[in-house]
């Protein structure tokens, strides 16, 4: 068989119908501040790990809300909990705590 190089590429479109509301509410119950992120990007701008490996709390929150918790975990994998992001967050989110809670809730299979 000749390989023409065609394959099925998984859709990269966000499908909000796949959003896991229950799990998100579980996280929000522990961590109400997850709701108030306004995606300003301050956390990502100062992230020490982010200079070397894709790491972004802003993107992680976005990914959760966009039904892609795997990406969220990936985005936080290299976090060293240094806490610089909590210093710059304009809405005063306890980012370290939030990162730990995200990991806890979404690592559960």
């Amino acid at each position: 068989m000749v390989d023409f190089g065609f394959g099925l590429v998984p859709s990269s479109r966000i499908n909000l119908d796949l959003f896991d509301k229950e799990k998100y509410e579980e996280l929000a119950a522990m961590e109400p501040d997850v709701r108030i992120c306004m995606a300003c990007g301050s956390c990502t701008a100062v992230c020490t790990a982010g200079k070397f490996v894709p790491t972004s709390l802003r993107e992680a929150i976005e990914a959760i809300k966009n039904a892609n918790s795997e990406k969220a975990l990936q985005m936080l994998e290299s976090c060293q909990l240094c806490g610089k992001c909590s210093m710059v967050c304009p809405r005063g989110i306890n980012t370290r705590h939030l990162i730990l809670s995200i990991t806890k809730v979404y690592s559960k299979k």
Binding site: S12, R13, I14, N15, L16, D17, F19, K21, A28, P32, R35, I36, M38, A39, E59, E62, A63, K65, N66, R91
Partner: protein, 351 residues
């Protein structure tokens, strides 16, 4: 005897200016082309940012304007400029000799049918901000039956050059956030999404409203303009946008989509402009003497403007504008108008 002042438009701006000018002792004649006073305010349920009942505000305006001569269902048939005053013939047969004219012709809501890609008037479950407000007021709307997923589309007929509406309508962001909260109050289990390009929550307490929507009501804000809506076989809607924060196309199935129709110049502007010989700018709103220092004075001496006739305004801005117009009229009628001999010179210097 104090001067006659004709006020065109019985919405909040016209009512507020009437009350102020009457207090100053002027003889105010207020005309309204529809059957009812109050303008859009009469159709609204609650007002941002504090969700004050619209009826209360309108009631206050109407009480303050008691005693003003009001003609509803009345329009202008013709206006003649005399030496200094205006001779105005109304459609009810009455002629008014008016020393100053205040144009408070307000705005129209953008006709959402024109954005065909959103399906208003085609798909059953698509409604406008005004429809939702009517539902909050009456509790009746066949489209709203325990919706589980609701979307709000910001900037419908705003910031849209192709629809001939370049500018921001100023009030829809705050209205959308307010209505998102109210629909969550009505249906706590529902998921609510707001599709925005920028959130323009500039006023006092507006940011609090935004924070409240996120924090207390879990409203999801998605940066991206809804580009396409289609109807599923079961009557739900498939909505497509880009999440421009995530840089990815996005789709979601919704039970209800609310279009935030923006402010457009009132349809009466064209006719009024012709009657009064007043200029309209490219955006369709009346031009003013100076946008910064004389926003209530038209280029025509003796003709004043207030409220959304000169561009989108919030309700408190409109009321402040009406009070300012009343002050400007008073200044004109005491400092310029009475001096018949030097009138032309004074107009040149002070108008």
């Amino acid at each position: 005897m104090k001067n006659n002042i004709l006020i065109i438009g019985g919405g909040p701006a016209g009512l507020e200016a009437s009350a102020q000018l009457q207090r100053m002792g002027y003889n105010v004649i207020l005309i309204e082309r529809s059957a009812k006073l109050g303008g859009h305010l009469a159709k609204w349920d609650r007002l941002f940012p504090d969700r004050v009942p619209a009826d209360e505000v309108l009631g206050g305006l109407l009480r303050a304007a008691e005693g003003v001569k009001c003609f509803t269902d009345t329009d202008i048939r013709a206006i003649n400029r005399l030496e200094k005053s205006y001779n105005v013939r109304l459609t009810n047969g009455i002629t008014v000799l008016s020393d100053a004219v205040l144009v408070a012709s307000g705005f129209d809501l953008f006709n959402a049918v024109r954005k065909e890609e959103y399906g208003y008037g085609i798909y059953n479950q698509v409604m406008t901000n005004a429809d939702l407000e009517a539902y909050f007021k009456t509790g009746n709307d066949k489209r709203i039956e325990n919706p589980k997923k609701i979307g709000f589309v910001h900037c419908v007929g705003s910031r849209d050059e192709k629809s001939g509406c370049r500018s921001c309508s100023k009030v829809c962001c705050a209205t959308a956030v307010k209505q998102a909260i109210e629909i969550k109050q009505a249906f706590p289990q529902a998921e609510v999404f707001c599709f925005y390009m920028d959130l323009r929550l500039f006023g006092r307490h507006y940011e609090d409203l935004y924070l409240e929507a996120q924090k207390e009501y879990g409203v999801r804000f998605i940066r991206g303009r809804v580009a396409e809506v289609s109807e599923n076989y079961d009557g739900t809607l498939l909505v497509k946008a880009e999440d421009t924060v995530a840089s990815k196309p996005l789709k979601v199935t919704l039970d209800l989509l609310v279009l935030m129709s923006g402010m457009r110049p009132s349809a009466s502007v064209k006719e009024l402009g012709e009657h009064l010989g007043m200029m309209v700018e490219e955006d369709g709103y009346f031009s003013v003497r100076s946008g910064i220092s004389a926003g209530q004075r038209s280029p025509q001496p003796g003709i004043f403007l207030a409220g959304a006739a000169t561009g989108p305004k919030t309700l408190p801005e409109t009321l402040a504008d009406a009070r300012a117009a009343a002050m400007e009229i008073e200044r004109y009628l005491t400092e310029i108008f009475p001096d018949a001999r030097n009138y032309k010179q004074l107009v040149k210097e002070r108008w």
